[in-house]
C-alpha cells in the first residue's frame, strides 16, 4: 500500500508518516501543491491524504489531477479550517473521506482500513484471538461458537482494542471513539473503566488470561502475539 501525504506542516506530515510506516504503508511526502502534482503524475497511490490549506494552492484543486493520473486512489481530506463548505465541495469533487484536524492517528488508520476492506472486498470481518472471535459484520463476539452477550458500547470498545492490538489506547481516545467527539469539554472518561471491567467479567468464565492490560492512569492495551 502506498500513501501520499500532502501536508504543508512538515512536523505533522512526518508524524503521520512515522505512524503509517509502522503499519507497513509506504509513504511519500509533499509539502505543497507543486510537489504533490509531481508525485501524483509519477507514482501510483492507494491513498492520498490531502490537506486543503496548502501554501501555493487550495488542496481541493488537486482532486481533478488526482482523478486523471491516479484514478484508483482514495482521497482523504484533512483540514484545520473546519469550513462546512470545504466538506461539501470535497465530496462533490470526488473525495472519499474527510477528517477534521486535530484527528487521532488511530482514527486515520481505521478509516484507511475501512476503505481497504471496501476496496478489496476483504472477507476479513472475522478477527480471532485465543478461542475468541469477533464478527465485525454481524457484530457478534464468540468463544468457540458460544456467543458472549456484550452491550453495544462494550462491543465497540472491545473490537476497537482488538483491531489496534499491542498499542496503548488512552481513555480519551477510547471515549472519543465510542461516544464521539462531542462538545463537552470535561467529559468524565472514567466510564471506560466500568465498561472494561464488565468486558473482563464476561470473558473470564471462558478464558482467564489477561487479554486487556491496564496502563495505569492512562488507558488499556490489548495484547496478543498472533
Amino acid at each position: 500500500m502506498r500513501i501520499l501525504i500532502v501536508e504543508d506542516e512538515k512536523s505533522l506530515a512526518r508524524e503521520i508518516q512515522h505512524f503509517l510506516e509502522k503499519e507497513h504503508f509506504k509513504c511519500d511526502l509533499a509539502f505543497n501543491a507543486a510537489q504533490a502534482s509531481e508525485h501524483i503524475t509519477v507514482n501510483p497511490y492507494d491513498f492520498i491524504l490531502l490537506d486543503i490549506g496548502l501554501p501555493d494552492a487550495n488542496g481541493l484543486d488537486l482532486i481533478p489531477e488526482i482523478h486523471k493520473h491516479n484514478s484508483d486512489a482514495y482521497i482523504i481530506i484533512i483540514t484545520a479550517r473546519g469550513e462546512l463548505a470545504d466538506k461539501v465541495d470535497g465530496f462533490n469533487l470526488g473525495a472519499d473521506d474527510y477528517l477534521p484536524k486535530p484527528f487521532s492517528l488511530i482514527e486515520l488508520h481505521l478509516r484507511i482500513q475501512a476503505i481497504t476492506r471496501r476496496k478489496f472486498g476483504h472477507s476479513q470481518y472475522l478477527i480471532g484471538f485465543g478461542n475468541f472471535s469477533i464478527d465485525t459484520k454481524a457484530r457478534v463476539f464468540q468463544f468457540n461458537q458460544i456467543p458472549i452477550d456484550l452491550t453495544k458500547k462494550e462491543y465497540d470498545l472491545l473490537s476497537y482494542l482488538v483491531m489496534n492490538k499491542n498499542r496503548v489506547l488512552d481513555r480519551m481516545q477510547l471515549t472519543e471513539h465510542i461516544w464521539g467527539a462531542f462538545f463537552e469539554d470535561d467529559f468524565d472518561s472514567n466510564y471506560i473503566d466500568v465498561h472494561i471491567k464488565n468486558i473482563r467479567k464476561k470473558m473470564q468464565p471462558f478464558d482467564d488470561s489477561n487479554w486487556i492490560k491496564t496502563i495505569r492512569g492512562v488507558g488499556y492495551k490489548f495484547e496478543s502475539a498472533e
Binding site: 479550517r81 469550513e83 496503548v168 481516545q173 463537552e184
Partner: protein, 442 residues
Amino acid sequence: MKKPRLKLKSQLVLVNALSKVVIILLLIFSIPWLINSLSIKDTDQNLEKKLDEVLVLIDSLGIENFIEDDSEFQAFGSYNILKEEYISIEILNQDTLINQISFTQRIIEDEMVDYRVLSYSYQYNHRFYLIEIGKSIATIMLFQKQMQQFVMIFMLIILVITIIIEFSIIQYFLLPFDLIIEKLKNTSHPSKFDYTLTNTSTLDFNYLERTIHDLMRKIETSFNNEREYISNVSHELFTPVSIIQSKLDNIIMEGNLSEEDMLKVYESKQTLGRLTKMIRTLLTLSRIENEEYLRKDEVELVSILKKVAGELEELIGAKNLELIQSFSASEIKLLGNEELLFNMFYNLINNAIKYTNHGFIKIESLLINNQPVIRISDSGPGIEPEHLPFIFTRFRKFKTGKDNFGLGLALAKKICDYHRIEVLVSSEFGIGTVFELRIKTS
C-alpha cells in the same frame, strides 16, 4: 408599537374604496333632496305664472264669469281629468291678505292627492276672493324615487368600476415594491440574495432597492469576512494542536515510557483535548452566529432524541440511574440542521447525567396546547436559584460551587435559538432540574 397587519396595497385600495363609499352615500342622499327642492321651486314658479294668467283672465272676463252671484255655491272649481292641476276661486269672508304656497292634501273624487297649492287673496269689486292653484306633486315624488334608484345603481356601478381600475393601477404601480418585498422574504442568508434590479419606473422604489442592495452587500461582505476569520482562526489554532496531538499519540501508542512519564504525557494530552474541545465549541458558536449552518433538512426531533438516548443509555446504566422515556408526541418535524440538533440533545442529556448521581433521567415529548414540547428532567442536585439566570452564559463562574457551566449549555441554547426553540429551565435545589424545549414547527 402596533402590529402591522395590512399590506400597503390593501391599505391604499381600502382607503380609496372607503372614501368613495362615503362620497357616494352623500350623493345618494343629497341628490334626491336637491332634485326635490329644485323641482318644487320650479313648480312654485309655474304656479305663480298660472296665477298671473288667471288674474289676467279675471280682469278681462270679469269675476262673474267664474262665480255667479246667485249660484248655490259661491265658488268656482276646475281640474283636469288626470287631477294634476286644479284651480278654485271662492269668496273670502274676511279681509286677510293671503299669499302663500304650501303642501296640502285634497280629496278629489274619493282620492287623496298631494298638492302643492298656491293660495292668493284677491280683491275684486270690494270683495275678497281666494284663488287657489294646485299642482299634484305625485309626479315629483315619483321622479324623486326613480332618481334615487337611478343614482344608487349608477353610483354602485361607478364604485365597482373605479375600485377595479384603481386596484389594477395600484397593483401595477406597486408591483416592483411587491417584488422587492418578495425577494427579501425569500432570502435566508445575504449570500443567497439575488442582486438583479427590479424593473420599475418609480424613482422611490428604485432608490429603495438600491439602498437595500448596498446594505445587503455590506452585510454579505461582513458575513464573508467573519467566515474567513473563523476559518483562519480555526486553521491557526488547530494546526499546532494537531501536530502536538499526533506526537503525543505516537508516544502513548508505542508505550515505551516509564509508567510515570506515560501518565505525564497522557495528562498533557488530556489538557490538549480540553483545549481542542473548547476551541471547537467556540468556533461552532461563532459559526452559528454567522449563520453558516444550513437549516434545510426536514428533521424529526423525536427520532433524534431516541438516537441520543440510545447512545447514552449505557452511561446512564453505568451510573445506576433509571432512564425514563415517554414520547406521547411521536413526531415533531421542523426544518433545521440535524447535526446541530443532535449535539444539542446530546449536550443537554449528557449534562443531566453528569450532575445526577441517583434517581432518574427522564426524556419526554408531548403536546401542550398543540405545541410540541420536549422535556429533559433529572433528579440531580438542582441549580441554585441565583445561578439559574446565568447557566447559558459562557464561562460563567460561580462563587459557591466548583461548578462551571462551561460552554456546553451556552452551545445548546445557541442551537435552540438558531431553530427558534424556546428553552425554559426550572430547577428546585436538591430535587432536580427540568429543561423544557418549546418547538415552533414550520
